[in-house]
Each structure stands twice: as C-alpha cells, then as structure tokens.
Symmetry: C2
Subunit: 368 residues, 2 copies
C-alpha cells in the first residue's frame, strides 16, 4: 500500500469575516495548501469538502474559484468531526490506491450567536437538553468535579493555556492572554462553565493536500508528514462517553504507536472540561488525572505532552467544518518545525482529535 | 479487485409524512435492505448517509435506530446527486477492498413549499436567477424548443409517461394517471414549465447494501446485481451543460458498455425538459431528438429504452438525499424481475443518473 503524506497545508485566519463568502475563504486556504505542496489545482484528482451548514454543493462552489477541472467533489459532514472525516476519507483513498492526490478543504461561516439545540427534535436527548452543547459539557464537568475532585481553577487553566498559545498563532481568532481569575469572573453560561471556557463563534477555512508519497515527490522534495493512522467511530450506546478512547485505540494500532509516543496533540477543547476528559481518553494520563495534567503545565507548549499549541478551539476558533483540517495543518507545521513562536521542541509524532454531536469521533496520527 | 454487488435494497414510500422523523423513515428503509440481503446491521462495516438538509450527524441518528455498533458513519451531500455520490463511495470502498459490506441510506424530509434560490448569495448565477431550479430548466426548455423544435406537448408527455409508471409503483408519491391536456392546463410555474412537469415536494428514504460478491454470498445465494461502473463529475465551466455526457462517458467505459446496451434507465427528471435533455446526453438518441424519443413511446416501459419505470422524480418523488439511492433500488428490482406491473421485459443492464445544483452529476451502471 502506498504511504499517504500531507503534501501541503494552508489556512484562512479564523475570526468574523462578514464581508467574505465561505467559498472565497476556502479557496484561499486551498491555494495556500497547493502552493505549499508545489502543486496546482489541475494536479488534484478528487476533493473532499467538509462543512456543516453552508448549504447544498458548497464544495463545488469552492472549486469554481480554483479552476473547474471536472473532478469528483464530495461534501462530507459529521458535525464537529466533519474535517477529520474528510481527512480520513482522503487518507483511505490514497492508501488504497483510488487516487494519488486529494484536496481536503474544511470551512464554515458560522451564524450569529450560540448554536441552540441540534439534531432531531422529539428525541429523549433533546427533551433532556443534551442537544445543547454547553449543557452537555456542564453535566460532564460536574460529574468529573464530583468524582475526581477536579476544580474550577483547573478547568480555567485549559482556557488560559490555549489563549496563551493563540497569542503566538497569527491564524487564531484571538491573540489575548487570560488569567484564571478573568476566566472565572466571566459570564456563567452553564454551571460550572464560564464564557471564556467555551469556544467562540468563528469563521475560517483550512486545507490539506493528501498524496501518495511518490506523487508528492514529483512536486516537492519534502520532507513530508506521513499519515500513520486515521480512525472514525460512532457511539455504541446513547451519549457514549468512550468514543474517544475507542477511536484512539484504532488509530494507535494503525500507527503502531501508543500515547506515550505522541509528541503533541490538537484535541477537541470546545469546552474547557472537554480537553481534560480527552487527556484521559487519549491515554495522556490516568482517568481522573486530567485536571492535574493541565495544572502541572505538562500540556503547555514546553511540557512533555503539549496539547493545542495552535490555541485549540478555544482560541484559534471552531468553524465547524474547518476544525479537523485546521488541526492537521497545525500538526504538519509543528512536525516540519514551522510553527514559529508556538513551536514544540522537535516533535516526531502528532495526534488530532475531534468529537461531534451524534456520537461521532475521529482521531488521526501524523508522523515525520 | 473484488466485484461490488447490490446485496439488498429497501425503501420507505415517498409522500408527505409529517408525523414521522427522517431517522425512522431511513431506518425502516435500511432494515428492509438488510432483510433483502439476509444481513443484520452487525454485518455492516461502514455507513454512508446521504441527505441535503437534515442537519448535523443525521446519519448517526439513523444508526441509533439500527443498533449502535460503533462503525464509521459518514454523511455525504452533493445536492440532488447526494444519494448517487454515497452509492459511488460505497462501490469504491468495496472495489478497492476498504470494506466488504457497506450500507448506503439516503433520506430527506423536505420543507414546505418550493425550494427558493440555493447556493451562495452574491454570485453571478444567483443574480441571474439561475439558482432557482424551475427558472434554470425553463431557460433550457426554451432553448431546446427554439433550436430543435421540441414542443410543449412532447415535454408534457414525459410527465404523462412517468405518472403512468408511478401508478404501478406502491412506493411512488403519486398513483395518478395524467393526460397531456391536464399537464398543459396546470398552473404555469416558469414559462414553458407547468406545475405537473415539476417534481413534487416529497419525503422518503431508500437504502442499498453494497458488498463484495464473496461477502454477499455468505448471507444470500443471489443472483446479485453487480455495480459495473460509477462516475461522479463536476463542471468544467459555469452552468456547464455537458456534465451528464462526461459522467456517462466515464461510467460507460468502466462498465465496458455503450448506451445501446442499456436496457433501462432512471434519470433525473426533476423537470420534464430535463429527461429530454438527458436522453440526449446519455446517448439514447441524437442531440435534438429527445422530444421525438418520448413522443414515439420508445422510453415507455414497453419501449426499447424504458426510462423512469419507477415514475421518476416526477411521480415517485424527489426527496433530495434519497433519489440516487431510490434509483439504484428500482434498477435492482428491475434486473431481478421483481418490479411487478412496471416490470421491464428481461433487462440485463440498467443506468441511474442524477444531476445537482453546483454542476455535479453522477451516473451508475448496474448489470445482472
């Protein structure tokens, strides 16, 4: 089987961009990824476009800007894991020899305000309010505090760490340092979660070129970032808390690596408690130890397992369809040593993780 | 490469089903397809769910009814070609050995009323009204009438034929014969298109199990319907009229067949003129001869190239994400001789065709 590489990555800065269409933002990200790979759109054999709410044929609208070459374009949606799903699909296609060069482009222009209840109406989850994300994560936070003694301060430290990292990321929505006190003094959204522990509402786009190594070398001498594993799972019971650990297990096995061998990770910190939970599910610490992991600084950029050096969803932002692709961009830049002031020291491996409404979870492992 | 077969198909009747959720309709269709294949959901390795406007993680909501097995579920959207895109993705996965058994489930609960302008705002197409489907097809109809002498009566005959076929399809939205006079006396929607030449607003769901032949035989002695080719293309210039002929060329080459060897077809008759245009693009007749093809009865069930024996989008209905999967169900039933009073005589091959907003087109060829 050919090895799949990330031949190029590109991004459009996260933020609020009312004057710019999603297709222009996405096309800019795609052109940057193509430039990075030394390719042009005519070299691409298929496109996977990830978004959640940009309407019919949004990926085709993006490709109209790139030069219409007639190739298969498929829009892929899996809630917050949409981008990761698209990356995995491209990885499978290249690994199994369907295509040699695939463009993945993830983008979103978010509506104003908080997203309310999502998914089907008249379900038990919706009746219980579990389709409102801050409510769902607040329940998880309360459970973790009760069961393990995790503190509000530890949760706030996730927001503080990720906002500090975002200060060094020009593509992040926010470049603003926060203190634990500021986080805990911000508006209460859903007890115990405060405003500054919730990801903002951001627009943005990211792109990655997934190629066979042979094809990538025709355009670029490398060195390349390899896709070592990619897993996508769904839940096995309602509101299944173990989707992350099951996806991670599959991805680790594909990559032949364990959590101790991961040098950095971009994980789904839509809410501060999420990052703490995911530390545990991804195997970076034992169950219940997530709060301590952030408190001791081990997940900071200079820690032993840096998490969300990009700023994560909290500070880079969370344009839904973009996120999984943006994580791959960040890990690629980190593994290539191109992450500027937020560079992790000499990473050889990196992991991305997204988790979405409906019990979907995706984990991807990249290596040098 | 393993040959991909349609191991089972199932459908939920088209119509207006206000009391039923999309996920229940889709799960019913999936269970019928599984029963038809002699399989249960635990035998399925991956799911592609096609829909356009059912919200985030709709496919995951369907799988919650089927028994949560944790497998990869991916939502796929390509406007009116969503279902065909999902079928093609499953075909590729099975043919390249990614999976041995894939469930494709296409569904849609449509909103009330006509869909207005779709796609991005502030584009040239939107300014010209070309994102309103009846307007776009009305322009094509006027051009065809002007250039080739195609008549309003010939276009009405498409609606008459497809509504007659729908009378024999218990899954069709309508079981009602029409006359040319009734069609031409119905309300003008966009000159020259009349109400009864436009597909209705329908809810519905369809499912197909795509397997390697070896895997299908473990559950079912056959005989099976084989997927001989599947193509997905995008446009090569704005409002490209040739997407169908390019998709067909690829699918014909994959199948090693030409249009003269196709025994029946399910094509995208969202508007009467569409079917006439597609006759020509698919190679069933010469350019300009489409009006004559329907007028002479050659595309009737007992004609030499029956088109839309199911009733097509006009009479079966057009729940967007369902349509491409529903077409595969119909061709499978026809090739297996199970189409009841609408059975085409002894077909060995069949073609499906969908075309969607944004210049997307998919053609699939099935054979016994």
């Amino acid at each position: 089987m050919p090895e799949a590489v990330i031949a190029g990555v590109g991004m459009h800065k996260c933020g609020r961009h009312p004057g710019k269409s999603f297709s222009v933002m996405a096309a800019e990200a795609a052109v940057r990824a193509l430039d990075d790979a030394g390719m042009n759109f005519g070299d691409i054999q298929a496109v996977y476009a990830s978004h959640v709410m940009q309407g019919a044929s949004a990926g085709q609208a993006v490709c109209q800007h790139l030069g219409m070459t007639g190739i298969p374009v498929t829009n892929v949606e899996n809630a917050c894991a949409s981008g990761s799903t698209a990356v995995r699909q491209a990885f499978i296609d290249v690994t199994y020899g369907v295509y040699e060069s695939v463009l993945v482009v993830g983008f979103e222009k978010m509506r104003q305000g908080v997203i309310g209840g999502i998914g089907e109406e008249n379900t038990v989850s919706a009746e219980l309010g579990l389709n409102v994300m801050p409510a769902l994560y607040a329940l998880k936070a309360n459970e973790h505090m009760h069961r393990y003694g995790t503190t509000r301060e530890q949760m706030a430290m996730v927001a503080v760490k990720n906002h500090l990292n975002g200060c060094y990321n020009p593509n992040a929505h926010f470049q603003k340092e926060l203190t634990v006190e500021e986080v805990l003094a911000s508006r209460l959204i859903c007890d115990p979660l405060r405003l500054l522990e919730c990801c903002p509402t951001s627009d943005g786009a990211a792109a990655a070129i997934v190629c066979s190594e042979r094809r990538a070398r025709r355009h670029n001498p490398g060195p390349f970032v390899y896709v070592a594993g990619a897993a996508l799972v769904s839940e096995i019971y309602g509101d299944d808390p173990d989707v992350t650990s099951r996806a991670a297990k599959i991805a680790y096995e594909m990559a032949g690596l364990g959590p101790a061998e991961i040098d950095l990770a971009e994980v789904h910190d839509a809410f501060s408690i999420g990052e703490i939970l995911h530390y545990e599910s991804l195997g970076f610490c034992a169950p219940g130890e997530g709060g301590r992991l952030v408190e001791t600084g081990r997940t900071a950029i200079n820690g032993d397992i840096p998490v969300n050096p990009s700023g994560g969803l909290q500070s880079r932002g969370h344009p839904l369809g973009m996120t999984g692709v943006a994580q791959v961009c960040e890990v690629a830049w980190q593994l290539r040593g191109q992450a500027g002031r937020r560079q992790v020291k000499g990473p050889q491996t990196g992991l991305t993780h997204t988790q979405g409404f409906g019990g979907v979870c995706a984990v991807t492992i990249l290596k040098r």
